[in-house]
Symmetry: D3
Subunit: 135 residues, 6 copies
């Protein structure tokens, strides 16, 4: 059970209801998941987090599905149970197939392995990789 109670719509203050409404409208769903009902105990964090999610996860140079896939990759690396479930569901809703999910798991596992080989052997960054950011 969460450390704080979940705030249901009918019990919510007007500014919380407004955010719940915006979550449902933006996502075109008729419900609000537990994450937001818990954050509603702290309206400032609820608002800030929702604005960040809405802005960062909106399609841009990366499409919405790719962004959900990145979210799952981070959540698996950190082992956040809630986030793995919610963002796997989110990615599925946006078109992630079973085969894409499997490949995602395989890349995350491989990256976690080679991260440790690079760290453990203290491998020097190749000069050619310095300042490689795209322009």
């Amino acid at each position: 059970m969460a450390l704080v109670p979940m705030i249901e719509y009918d019990d919510a203050a007007p500014e919380v209801r407004a955010i719940y409404d915006d979550i449902r409208a933006t996502r075109q769903v008729d419900w609000v998941n537990n994450f937001w009902k818990v954050l509603a105990n702290d309206p400032a964090t609820l608002e800030r987090t929702w604005q960040s999610v809405r802005n960062v996860m909106a399609p841009g140079a990366l499409d919405a599905l790719t962004k959900e896939i990145i979210y799952v990759a981070v959540s698996v690396t950190n082992n956040c149970e809630y986030c793995i479930h919610s963002h796997t569901a989110g990615a599925s809703a946006k078109g992630m197939t079973a085969q894409m999910f499997r490949e995602l798991m395989a890349v995350v596992a491989l990256a976690n392995a080679t991260n440790r080989l690079a760290n453990g052997y203290r491998i020097d960054v190749d000069e050619r990789f310095r300042d490689p950011a795209p322009r």
Copy 2:
């Protein structure tokens, strides 16, 4: 400096050379980066790791660029300096633009934040999110 010496092509045993050749041919480049030159101290790990990278990172249901982006997301979360540099370069070579890189950083940061909100508040997984894997 790496904990073990780097094995250059001219000093490498035949089975290591064969892998270096395959790396260059697969990637269509004329060089081999430090990661492989260090792993060459352990030919069994070199071979196993290269086979995994070649198979897992090949285009499939997820394209090669998306896989590199996932790799960067994991490496940033784990703070693997070598891997951030090498896979950012790899993603750039596969078409990641500056704007895509910025959005990638923004999603990774957001996911690391909300992972802790979910963990810290001990939020229960919504029933609707249980068994959400795509079919």
Copy 3:
């Protein structure tokens, strides 16, 4: 269920009982929580860990509440379920209010986000921040 049985007071060896007594006396409570009952399977670790907790968590330049808050911050970052529960309870007992808890969660989430922005962009430490430790 824990990987080892919990050692109850009545079944404990004298040196374990002495530590249980000290835990209760130091904390002015009439019970011992599961953490210590499990560590009691290894009296050396029980003693060493309890001495560390007693010394490190005692009020000093940082008061006892601030120390519990730091403990929660680390435990949330690492996602240690037991530790989040026990140290949130500990902090509450020492005076953490609901609003303080919410702000703690917000700072932990923010720090986990900006940690990745700094790592991912490989931001150089400002010269002015070098050797900033207080004297």
Copy 4:
């Protein structure tokens, strides 16, 4: 060297300059640290991150120094070099003494140790610790 160039004030777009001005005014300093100059490559992330930092780190139920101390605790746990330097400097500027810093390090180390004892032994959460959040 950072993966992207740092944007200096004189080269910055008006909306970036406005944020630099607000950072300096809010912190009552005459300079802007590298973190923001790098984020300025992505004005949306710069703005969102600065607004979060300004709001979350402002004194509330937890004072500004305690919030910086929490930030250092997270950054040390994650081993973010930039963040350890910048937030140790920030905490020092807000009054953290050498002794407070030492105690902070000691608590962070202890928490990282006991987190693993709790996880490794798979210790069950005490019933008394369930739903312990302050009201």
Copy 5:
């Protein structure tokens, strides 16, 4: 419940059955644990992962028990519940005694603590420790 169904032997494709057979033969047991039944949803990952486990975990310069102990140390540090259970069982089957398990937990806890002291104080690597890898 796992995000994907477990594939039982009778329902498995021939190439999956062959791997199940090899797992049982290699380990000289008459069953296959859930990890493999879940990976069987992705036969390529099942095969690659099993080949890696079989090769890496075979006795070499490090004996099989030491390798299982290392596996537990990593799993505890990352807090992977499944892996802590399965590799503690594996180590026990290979001869880990109760006292060895306790000492393992104590070393893992200590290492996680001193890792943060070294990181937090930003301690410079001693020149004598540079290039210390065994020849």
Copy 6:
């Protein structure tokens, strides 16, 4: 450069000198590494940490080399640069060969990979693995 100055023997208080002497005597070396010189800024942490290291790392049911190997495994997983260098050197001094080091790296990488497969797929612990701790 470390965040605090290193305390050399000639400048150390008597209780710090006594610990330096004990470190050198216990390890049968004629020098003290930077880790302890930095901790000496906080004599209480120096003493507590050294006592823990001396007790935990002493040969027991696990020999001293195995304990150093576990230490390296944790340090690589956490990416603690100082600790990887110092404990790889320590393990080498206790008999770790080049081949043992390579196998250690391979096991650590594999464990970090399969940890994420288990976490990402949310694999249920087998009943047979419950309560597997050795007696």
